[in-house]
Amino acid sequence: MFVAIIFALVIIASIAFHFWSPWWWTPVASNWGNIDSTIILTFWVTGAVFVAVCLFMAYCVWQYRYRPERKAEYKPEDKKLEFRLTWLTALGVVALLAPGLVVWNKYVTVPDDAFKIEVLAYQWGWNYRLPGADGVLGKTSIDLVSDENPYGLDANDPNSKDDILVMDADLHLKINQPVKVELRSFDVLHNFYVPQFRAKMDTLPGIITYYWFIPEKTGKFEILCAEYCGTGHYAMRGYVQVDEEKDYSDWLAKQISFEKMFAKNSKKKLLVAENKN
């Protein structure tokens, strides 16, 4: 009696916790609201199954508790029942999976008009690179990385000269513009994750990974590294500021292109070298 009641109470408390807890998703700030919808669907379907199975268990514990005079039923199997339960479960699983795969298909299909930007991760921080007027990011190679050329851009690639280098943990994006983030890492695995955008992907040294989204709300959102990357993992933060058109242009105007930075850095290096002499 007591046992069955406590088990039932645990389930009821779980439901109560869900309804009264202040903890739930942060409001979505990108186009991935349909990820939330699939989660909500899964949440209610599986939640119902959980509650039903556990309450049924509690009921059995109460109804069929030990009685000296009772004799348990002898029933090795019930094909019909098992068959039904199997198909019902399979149906439920399909209902959860199918919408998920549809959304995943969207997630991995980048629209052609997406604005390509590079996120460069290192232990432990973030840098960014935006294409210049040509809209194309220049080629990079890790062999070219040096003090003057912190991103390892290929100076011979005509596309690279006007690339804008944001050597700062804060990134600005224009509202309602589809963005394809190309993820690059200098050293180990990282993961570019903004909870409000719902999207994430690991960055890997040696290859470029990507995902895309459309920022749909202005505001300042925290970037968290979501793949363990060493002692400073927890401190690897940054911000994405989603701006209206005008604020964005203002910010962009203050950023420096690769050509200028390279020239400046080279000059600085020259000066340092001369001073040494």
Binding site: V3, I6, V10, S14, S21, W25, T26, T42, F43, G47, F56, M57, C60, V61, Y64, Y66, R67, R70, K71, A72, E73, Y74, K75, P76, E77, D78, E82, T89, A90, V93, L96, L97, G100, L101, V103, V108, I142, D143, V145, G152, L183, D187, V188, L189, P195, R198, A199, K200, T203, L204, P205, G206, I207, T209, E222, L224, A226, Y228, T231, Y234
Partner: protein, 608 residues
């Protein structure tokens, strides 16, 4: 009944001689069950209790070693919880220490505690007894298996004392960071970890060889595969999985050791770190992840399948009812085992692998939910119309059902590729896997210990302490991990030493403190359990033979508790499956497996 036994002896002999007829001559060796069977009989204290070849003693050795290292894992978790609940309060915990605790806690719990306990501990103790064998088929190899495990554990512990400390690479040990200086313990710590794992794999393979072949070839007469208790089915399938999956870990360990020690580039791409470019290049970190999870996912089922099996038997015995849908239960175990090899990349949806893999692995992963759900239905349907004794093993089994269903359905979230995108690497994942492969299997471990402790020691565990242990562990653990999912919903990433004042995290402070307090209480309760185990060994209430009135062979040995050789002079002959409880027509409430039909004439089972 004695007639039966003599019969058996003669038939065994004739069976052996007839097998020589068609098999290659060299293949013919008298079976161990023949009268002059060759068990190693211990002559001294050392060979009887230390370098012992008796699977029962080896099982206990495995279990004690696993528990000892598991306690270290438990204590490490306290350090982590203190930091998460009350940051900046405990100065001894820096980020490096924190990450080392995370790593060692994970590795210890998954491999050195759960795997060793289920397969090495319960597997060794129960397989020969439950299938009606005198011992494992290769007792010497079995002994070496334990000692390899012990050496692996010692190497693991040694890594705490080397310069730089143990590795802090996370239990997944992803390169390149595992062997780069930005990670704690990237010099000797990681090397010792890899060596320890390799030793574990070698040692396990020796043990696994025994478990598989004993189940396949050394069962007693009448014990068909479909008459085996589900415990054996679970352990057997898990062992097969382990034999096929551990090589992947072994391969990954060897290649990473070489990357670390002699500078090869199996997993190391071109890397620019600390202001210079390393000499590595061309290697693939994703290859490591594939190898790791090709081992890592079956590993989940290596822990889960024995738990499934054991809990089925415990529920059946204590509900006095046959397990509902035995055949379906066996099929589910086999199907889950087979499927577990083609779902591994669901741990890698956001790893940067080809995104089109997502479709395949999400589908296979969700297919696994079907046989798993059937198992859950069948456990609950076994309770239906049973006659349930709410003993402590039964309580833990009920606790298992709740935590397993909870952890299982959150698996449906994470397996569905698009839902995994926002949830991966958050506390939702932490809550999910602790619920489903931490708490749920541990519930079964406890159920099994309370269930079989009388068999091992001849005494019961203290019931009051047992009830306290159950209620605090079940409710406490549920209170830790159920709310933790919600931290994942708000987006808190895992493996964060500190969240500082992230806006959406501020609201979780109270929750984190609550979880920490609950974790400390649950952790402390486990010491009550250990106290119970050690004191009951000498002082516990004496148990009569077969206290739970179970049918399987381990309870029906001539000596109780079973002694060396398990079954006295003659091996039992099996006449039925182990679930003949409350058989219609019979005046007996239960009919043990070795009872011949002539002894229970009235028992009649209708065709299904």
């Amino acid at each position: 009944m004695s007639d039966e036994y003599i019969d058996n002896k003669i038939e065994t002999k004739s069976a052996d001689s007839s097998s020589g007829g068609y098999a290659p001559p060299a293949d013919h060796i008298p079976a161990k069950e023949a009268p002059d069977q060759e068990l190693y009989h211990a002559k001294s204290f050392w060979t009887k209790w230390v370098f012992c070849q008796d699977a029962k003693v080896i099982g206990v050795q495995y279990a004690l070693t696993a528990t000892a290292i598991g306690m270290i894992g438990l204590i490490l978790s306290w350090g982590m919880r203190l930091q998460l609940g009350f940051p900046e309060t405990f100065s001894f915990l820096g980020p490096a220490t924190y990450y080392q605790s995370v790593t060692m806690h994970g590795m210890i719990m998954v491999i050195y505690l759960l795997t060793a306990l289920f397969l090495g501990g319960f597997g060794n103790y129960l397989i020969p007894l439950m299938v009606g064998a005198r011992d494992m088929v290769f007792p010497y190899v079995n002994m070496v298996s334990y000692w390899m495990f012990l050496v692996a554990v010692i190497v693991l512990i040694a890594s705490f004392f080397v310069p730089g400390g143990p590795t802090g690479a996370g239990w997944t040990l992803y390169p390149p960071q595992a062997i780069l200086p930005g990670t704690p313990g990237s010099e000797l710590g990681i090397v010792l970890m890899l060596v320890s794992l390799s030793l574990f794999v070698i040692g396990f393979t020796m043990g696994g060889l025994n478990y598989v072949i004993t189940v396949l070839q050394a069962r007693t007469r009448g014990m068909t595969l479909m008459r085996m208790p589900l415990t054996i089915w679970g352990i057997f399938t898990a062992t097969v999985l382990a034999l096929l999956a551990f090589p992947a870990l072994f391969v990954a360990c060897i290649m990473m050791t070489l990357d670390n020690l002699i500078g090869t580039s199996f997993f190391m791409p071109e890397i620019f770190t600390m202001g210079e470019k390393l000499e590595t290049g061309g290697g693939s970190p994703i290859l490591f992840q594939h190898l790791f999870w090709f081992f890592g996912h079956p590993e989940v089922y290596i822990v889960a399948l024995p738990a499934f099996g054991i809990v089925s038997d415990v529920i059946s015995v204590h509900a006095r009812k046959n397990i509902f849908g035995y055949r379906m239960m066996v099929w589910a175990i086999v199907i889950i085992g087979a499927l577990s090899f083609i779902v591994w990349a669901h741990h890698m949806y956001v790893s940067g692998m080809n995104p089109w893999f997502g479709f395949f692995f999400a589908t296979t992963t969700l297919i696994i939910a079907v046989p798993t759900a059937i198992k859950v239905y069948n456990w609950v349907l076994t309770l239906w119309r049973g006659n349930i004794h709410l003993t402590i093993p039964m309580l833990f089994s009920l606790g298992f059902i709740v935590t397993f269903v909870n952890g299982g359905i959150t698996g449906l979230f994470l397996g569905n590729v698009i839902i995994d995108v926002p949830l991966s690497d958050t506390y939702f994942v932490v809550a999910h896997f602790h619920m489903v492969m931490g708490i749920a299997p541990l519930m079964v471990v406890f159920a099994a210990i309370y269930h079989w402790y009388p068999l091992i020691t001849g005494r019961h565990l203290n019931q009051t302490l047992g009830k306290i242990h159950f209620w605090i562990t079940f409710i406490g653990a549920y209170a830790i991990y159920f709310p933790m999912h919600y931290l994942g919903f708000i987006g808190v990433p895992r493996r964060y030493f500190e969240m500082y004042d992230s806006p959406y995290m501020a609201s979780g402070v109270g929750l984190n403190q609550f979880i920490t307090v609950a974790a400390l209480i649950v952790g402390f309760t486990q010491f009550i359990f250990l106290y119970n185990i050690f004191t009951s060994w000498y002082k516990g209430e004496k148990s009569e033979r077969n206290p739970w009135k179970a049918n399987s062979l381990e309870w029906h040995t001539p000596d109780y508790p079973p002694t060396h050789g398990n079954f006295g002079k003659e091996l039992p002959v099996v006449h039925r499956w182990p679930y003949d409880f409350s058989v219609p027509g019979s005046d007996k409430e239960y009919i043990p497996q070795h009872v011949a039909p002539s002894e229970v004439p009235a028992a009649k089972v209708e065709k299904t």
